[in-house]
């Protein structure tokens, strides 16, 4: 009889002992994409978190940016998806974000340090805390300073206009035999900063699109002229169709471009790819007739509304958003901090590359020079429609399919049609 009980009890005991750690652990999945080394850094930080919180098992799914853009929205529409995701499309998908506020131990900390950017990820008028912006980005130009030195051309100072920059870039290209004086990401977002510098409104105070206007036209004329006179390479803006993004990272790293207009997120990549092959500097945004602004942007880490473990999601988010952790993350990834405390106290970046330090200084200064509209656009629900229409139609002008007048007229119709469709 005793043996019979033992036979039953031993497997039960063994099973319980084996199963207990697994049963106690809550699995939290994070969908993450990387521009540079941030995946590696966050994995390291999360490992420490898991050591402190054995009850939570974090699975970091590192995916391509395209997966975040194309697959995640479909998962969210069907009420599934990860527990936490790193996204850039913060506003359009805001209905799927979890409001962390009821689960946070100190919501005031979040409002104080991330408050400026919470509107980017929540509906207008809401006080929800869906997550935090992991890094702030600012669009702006990089130059190959070595080419300037070789050509004996002075680098234009802060406050120089596009009209002053372009002859200098062409002069450097001609003197050094570099094929592309200016390259700009084929992106409506990148175009919008210079357009605002020429007075573009993009949206009015009621949130209605104001495209096109004189500012858009002025910058669009520049783009078209720069392609016609060889300042910009035909294949970047004119080489593809629709909203397709084309960057010139490789061309810049290969010293085939004098100025590359992109943004602060390229710093880590350039530090890694270019190294000491040449001096690459970030320079202040060239001025138009109205301002000298880039565009704000950034990636955010958000909780997903469909998680079965909101408490644990909040615990992970609180850890990642805490000042020491976000400080280390920012220092190691060479990102601009979106955390107000860090922005005011400064960050000791982990790099001995003078180009990195200079670029970070320049972009941090550019944050302070952002026009309000350049920040507000990030919170505008239909910003992707505006950017898409602008780049699609300008691409057709560059390719010679449309006149600028036709393109501007079509931009207006495209935007109206798409907003009407999305608002049904």
């Amino acid at each position: 009889m005793a043996y019979r009980h033992l036979n039953l009890a031993l497997p039960l005991l063994a099973g319980t002992l084996l199963a207990s750690p697994a049963l106690a652990q809550t699995e939290i999945r994070i969908m993450w994409y990387s521009d540079g080394n941030e995946g590696e850094v966050v994995a390291d930080l999360l490992e420490r978190f898991e050591a402190e919180h054995p009850e939570i098992d974090i699975v970091l799914d590192e995916v391509a940016y395209q997966t975040i853009q194309e697959n995640l929205p479909v998962q969210l529409e069907s009420g599934r998806g990860p527990d936490i995701a790193r996204v850039t499309n913060l506003q359009t998908l805001n209905e799927h974000w979890l409001d962390l506020r009821p689960h946070l131990s100190d919501p005031a900390y979040w409002e104080e340090n991330f408050g400026s950017f919470l509107d980017w990820m929540r509906p207008a008028g809401s006080d929800a805390i869906p997550g935090f912006v992991t890094q702030l980005t600012v669009t702006g130009p990089f130059i190959n300073a070595t080419l300037f030195q070789q050509a004996g051309v002075e680098v234009p100072e802060q406050g120089a206009t596009w009209e002053e920059w372009i002859p200098a870039l062409r002069q450097v290209a001609e003197a050094t035999g570099v094929p592309i004086p200016l390259a700009m990401d084929r992106s409506g977002h990148r175009f919008s900063g210079p357009a605002i510098s020429y007075g573009a409104q993009l949206i009015d105070d009621e949130g209605n699109p104001v495209v096109p206007d004189d500012g858009i036209r002025a910058m669009a004329e520049n783009i078209v002229n720069w392609h016609q006179d060889g300042t910009m390479a035909q294949e970047l803006w004119g080489g593809v169709s629709g909203t397709t993004y084309v960057g010139a990272n490789q061309e810049f790293a290969n010293a085939e471009v004098v100025m590359y207009f992109s943004g602060s997120w390229q710093i880590a990549q350039f530090a890694n790819q270019i190294g000491d092959a040449f001096d690459w500097w970030a320079v202040p945004n060239p001025c138009g007739t109205a301002a000298c602004t880039g565009m704000a942007g950034g990636a955010g880490l958000v909780g997903i509304a469909y998680t079965e473990h909101p408490e644990e999601v909040a615990t992970v988010m609180e850890y990642l958003a805490s000042e020491p952790v976000i400080r280390e993350f920012t220092a190691r990834t060479l990102f601009l901090p979106a955390h107000a405390g860090l922005a005011s106290s400064g960050v000791d970046y982990v790099s001995d590359d003078p180009n990195v330090a200079r670029a970070l200084d320049v972009f941090l200064a550019e944050v302070g020079r952002l026009e309000p509209k350049a920040i507000a656009m990030q919170a505008y629900r239909f910003n992707s429609i505006l950017y898409g229409a602008i780049i699609t139609r300008l691409g057709q002008v560059v390719a010679g399919e449309l006149t600028l007048d036709d393109a501007l007229a079509r931009m207006e119709v495209d935007i109206a049609d798409q907003i009407a469709e999305a608002s049904r």
């Binding site: 529409e77 035909q234 294949e235 004119g238 992707s384 399919e401 049609d417 798409q418 469709e421």
Partner: protein, 345 residues
């Protein structure tokens, strides 16, 4: 009478081993046989046809017909929601949007100019690429059909691109054709000036057709080779005895007898040309402007690539494209049926 399923038949050791191995199979077959016998006895021969077609029809219904029906329904809805429940019924509005044109011969006079640019580009691609691929496949097949050294090797060489993924094909040729690509390096080496091949509308379409022809020619060559080898040799021997020249034999024997196979090749190439997307998308991205943007790319970009997806419009465009493909498929089926009648007759 003993039931075979009860015990294996034993005569020789090998036979008993075989019987033992097949015993489970026989058991299963007997189990299936009884209901099937009952089905046939009760409902007749027709029931058996339905029974055997049912699994395939179920798969076809779930994975082909059902999505097709859902797609048709989507084409009558609007909004950016993914699920039908959340979408708004809009009747024929999406079709009206696609057909809202001042002048159908000018894509840029249409409200959805990208759709019509896609239609015209696909048409241009079809009219140029199909004859190009058929002609090069025919010439290659005629050459490879001759007795020559290393014939198997040459056949493999021409067939090799068919094995490559369209994305790989697109990327390889993109690297060849870009500003600092292999072609420009070659031209520069010869003292000639290169150009930005994919930045010019004419050259972008030319290379899209060239690359697609290169990638698919091997497949059609294989079909034509099979057609060539089915032509009876005695016809050529008779022609040779009559002193018929080779070009005349080609015109009077080979090409007429190869024509049914060539029709199949033409129809298959037409269907493939209408569906063209992947390799051209990777190669040119649809540019410059919209000059190589094909119809399928329009559907992909409207329905999937945009952040705010217009699934209704994409569905309507895909239904229109589906109708064109259906006509081409019926044409192919008609030709195939006529050919089999001719063979039987």
């Amino acid at each position: 009478m003993t039931d075979e399923t009860e015990r294996p038949i034993t005569s020789t050791p090998l036979a008993s081993l075989r019987a033992a191995a097949f015993w489970p199979l026989r058991l299963v077959m007997n189990l299936i046989d009884r209901p099937l016998t009952w089905l046939q006895a009760t409902f007749g021969q027709r029931a058996m046809i339905v029974f055997f077609l049912l699994p395939n029809m179920a798969i076809f219904g779930i994975f082909v017909m059902l999505p097709l029906v859902i797609n048709v329904i989507y084409s009558f809805t609007g909004g950016s929601a993914l699920f039908l429940d959340d979408r708004v019924g809009v009747g024929f509005e999406q079709y009206q949007t696609l057909f809202d044109c001042r002048d159908f011969t000018d894509p840029f006079s249409c409200r959805q100019d990208a759709f019509w640019a896609g239609v015209y580009n696909t048409l241009t691609f079809m009219l140029l690429q199909v004859p190009a691929v058929a002609l090069t496949a025919l010439v290659t097949a005629l050459v490879l059909n001759r007795e020559m050294r290393g014939r198997g090797f040459w056949r493999a060489i021409f067939f090799f691109p068919v094995l490559l993924s369209p994305v790989v094909v697109g990327l390889i040729w993109k690297w060849i054709l870009e500003r600092n690509g292999l072609l420009n390096a070659l031209l520069n080496g010869l003292g000639l000036e290169g150009t930005v091949w994919l930045g010019d509308s004419f050259w972008a379409m030319f290379w899209a057709i060239f690359v697609s022809t290169w990638a698919h020619m091997g497949f059609y060559t294989l079909i034509l080779l099979a057609g060539l080898q089915s032509i009876p040799r005695d016809l050529y021997e008779a022609a040779d005895m009559d002193g018929t020249s080779r070009p005349r034999a080609l015109l009077r024997i080979t090409l007429p007898l190869l024509w049914p196979t060539m029709l199949v090749v033409l129809i298959l190439a037409l269907i493939r040309a209408v569906q063209i997307f992947d390799e051209v998308y990777v190669l040119t991205g649809g540019g410059p402007g919209t000059s190589t943007q094909m119809l399928v790319q329009y559907i992909y970009q409207t329905g999937f690539a945009a952040l705010l997806r217009n699934l209704g419009l994409a569905a309507a465009a895909s239904i229109l494209m589906g109708l064109v493909l259906m006509v081409l498929t019926l044409l192919q089926l008609g030709i195939a049926a006529r050919r089999s009648r001719e063979v039987a007759g």
